[in-house]
């Protein structure tokens, strides 16, 4: 009895910095939430210009790192649809990423000289179709078997790339052109070398010119696409489609008996996931100007998946944070090159022990756990303030729709 009393408060405070922040966020009025989102987005846009110390990466180009991170974020958000929402364990997601990149490569450099912008829609259609083609036979198997089949798919794509002269074999494809530039004005960076931020007019980025030397415009493009994908993700997730995915994940047979054509919805998840992977691949190709099969190994697939798992499967913001962690931290601590993988592995283990649901699990999981904890507390005879508030708060009848509306708003 006394043990629970002493152990309860730290438990609540450890759980959870992120969750608590989120609860405060969802308590804000909608316009405030919207403004906050806009502010965060703007901050993200100017981040590579600010080059803030501590966050900025010494030794590597900060803009380039941010671009890599944003590609990972795109991939994680796309994979989250497949793994998090629909519950389909996909170990070969890198295959779609590769198909997106290679379609761009083939159309712009290898066999034609299309502009990048024209090749992009084709690449997205091709990846989407490849998602359907992979899903059509394989989505009939479940669980572990699907993981094995998708693992095979990723490897097949890579091996095909290595062995096909038509696709450049191991040499890869170059040079892949950049998106069209529209140079309007120069934006100066900040210089922190003296300890105080100074505007440095000798170090500028052209808005908006895609070149080999400055990755920042690529980052801006990626960020814009991330925002669009997140908006689309939210709309689809909050619809019949999102519910069908989750129902399929929870109990495929029951879903089917409630009128959900589960196969069709799983295929849709695969296609949409592939589509987003294709966007990321196309961006990667144009920024690198050069692609070869080395960039599409199984390890990358695992990294993608760990981004989703680390962040919290089923929550788009979790996927975003997971991707940032997986892509940014190793770059930030490049100095410890030798130890990177070891530290990363340890971090994953710690996460698995202390936060198995991921850094930012779906809101509902958090809410449910809180409720569980309260019930537990009540059972041992305590009255946590939260539970009283919950019981005396808005009646669940009208709380339900408003919460639905605002929480996903």
């Amino acid at each position: 009895m006394s043990q629970t009393t002493t152990s309860a408060p730290p438990r609540r405070s450890r759980r959870d910095l992120l969750g608590g922040l989120r609860r405060r966020l969802s308590g804000m009025p909608r316009w405030a939430q919207f403004l906050l989102m806009v502010a965060i987005a703007l901050l993200c846009y100017v981040l590579p210009l600010l080059e803030p110390p501590i966050i900025s990466t010494p030794g590597t180009d900060f803009g380039g790192v941010l671009f890599t991170v944003s590609v990972y974020v795109l991939v994680a958000v796309g994979l989250n649809i497949v793994v998090g929402y629909a519950g389909l364990l996909d170990l070969g997601y890198v295959g779609f990423y590769a198909i997106g990149a290679y379609t761009v490569g083939v159309l712009t450099a290898q066999h034609a000289t299309w502009p990048w912008l024209l090749s992009l829609p084709v690449a997205l259609v091709v990846t989407m179709v490849s998602g359907v083609l992979l899903g059509w036979p394989t989505l009939r198997v479940r669980g572990d078997y699907l993981a094995i089949v998708t693992l095979g798919f990723g490897e097949i794509v890579r091996l095909t790339l290595i062995n096909s002269e038509w696709l450049g074999a191991a040499r890869g494809i170059r040079p892949i052109p950049s998106p069209p530039s529209l140079p309007l004005f120069e934006v100066p960076h900040l210089d922190w070398s003296t300890g105080v931020p100074l505007v440095d007019f000798s170090d500028t980025t052209t808005f908006i010119e895609f070149g080999v030397t400055d990755p920042i415009p690529f980052y801006w493009l990626a960020l814009t696409l991330i925002i669009l994908v997140l908006l689309a993700d939210k709309r689809i997730k909050d619809s019949r489609v999102g519910r069908a995915w989750e129902a399929t994940r929870e109990d495929e047979d029951a879903a089917e008996l409630m009128g959900v054509p589960t196969f069709r919805f799983k295929l849709l998840a695969f296609a949409i996931g592939a589509f987003v992977g294709g966007i990321a691949g196309s961006l990667f190709a144009t920024r690198q100007t050069f692609i070869n099969p080395e960039s599409f190994t199984l390890l990358i697939s695992i990294l993608f998946l760990s981004a989703v798992v680390v962040g919290g499967q089923g929550n788009r913001w979790g996927a975003v944070i997971g991707a940032v962690v997986v892509a940014y931290l190793p770059e930030r601590f490049r100095g410890f090159e030798q130890w990177r993988v070891l530290v990363f592995g340890l971090a994953l283990m710690l996460l698995a022990i202390y936060r198995p649901q991921g850094l930012l699990p779906p809101r509902r999981t958090v809410r449910a756990q809180r409720m569980e904890a309260e019930t537990e507390a009540l059972e041992v005879g305590e009255e946590p303030e939260d539970a009283v508030v919950a019981a005396g708060g808005p009646t669940p009848d009208d709380a339900a729709p408003t919460d639905e509306g605002s929480s996903r708003g």
Binding site: R240, E246, A247, R364, M371, D397, A400, P401
Partner: protein, 274 residues
């Protein structure tokens, strides 16, 4: 309230809604159902009873398309539904609950029911993406129906809780709401009162009558004899995959074959069973 949301199904008792015609189902050498035929009239509450392993749930599974009969067929609302995909059967108007509760545990109660309501909806990802008017209409209608049904079964106060966190009884009731949200003509309840105490069972029987009053036909599997007898219009008794009786509750209670085969106890203990 109910009438505004549920489609107004006129209770035209008399005509056959569902019929099993000489259904046989074999798993290898085991015959789970052996030439079973029975029918349900529109607006009826039919009890399906029998000892454990008699084939009651198997019959459910044949009706809802989980199993395809080895021979024989199922006719629903005038059309053959044998061999149709499960979700198509659901859309035709057959909904069910499960003996062992099978909710979407990580979804809220409201969402569970909305999944059921979605069976009547047609919007896809594109209209959701663009927020087309039809999509908004369907979302609003689905939510309204779901909230109404949660109230109807008595889980109205828990719409926003995870299904997996609900109490056992609420989970059973939520399953009924989810099935009803598909707006079925026939509702199949597989031991809905399992694990209930007597007062809960009484409330459930009341609920089943109310469901029938909404225009639904109910096929009810139940072990509790008193429960079945109190609410059903007619009883079909299965034993070892064969139908051994098909009559009114009183007739079945006095049927020596049923007493011998199914009840295996003296007649006076039947009524006050438990």
């Amino acid at each position: 309230m109910a009438e505004t949301v549920q489609q107004p199904t006129p209770v035209t008792t008399g005509d056959t809604l569902l019929s099993l015609d000489d259904v046989t189902l074999k798993f290898g050498g085991v015959t789970a159902l052996n030439g079973v035929s029975f029918h349900i009239d529109r607006g009826e509450i039919l009890g399906l009873i029998g000892p454990n392993g008699a084939g009651k749930t198997t019959a459910f599974n044949v009706v809802t398309g989980i199993y395809r009969p080895t021979s024989g067929g199922v006719t629903f609302d005038g059309e053959q539904i044998t061999g149709l995909k499960r979700y198509r059967i659901a859309k035709r108007g057959i909904a069910r609950t499960f003996q062992n509760i099978r909710l979407f545990r990580a979804m809220t109660a409201l969402e569970n029911v909305m999944v059921g309501a979605d069976a009547r909806h047609t919007t896809g990802p594109i209209s959701a993406l663009l927020g087309l008017p039809r999509h908004r209409r369907e979302e609003a209608a689905g939510r309204e129906l779901a909230l109404e049904l949660l109230d109807f079964v008595g889980v109205g106060g828990r719409a926003d809780e995870l299904a997996g966190n609900l109490s056992y009884g609420d989970q059973r009731r939520l399953e009924i709401a989810r099935a009803m949200a598909t707006q079925p003509k026939l509702l199949c309840l597989d031991e809905p009162a399992a694990g209930f105490n007597p007062s809960e069972k009484q409330a459930l029987m009341e609920l089943i009558r109310k469901i029938r009053d909404r225009g639904l036909t109910v096929l009810l599997i139940e072990h509790d004899m008193r429960l079945v007898m109190g609410v059903v219009d007619r009883v079909v008794v299965l034993e070892f995959g064969t139908k051994i009786a098909d009559a009114s509750p009183t007739e079945v209670q006095n049927d020596p074959a049923v007493i011998a085969a199914y009840l295996g106890v003296a007649e006076d203990e039947v009524v006050t069973d438990e």
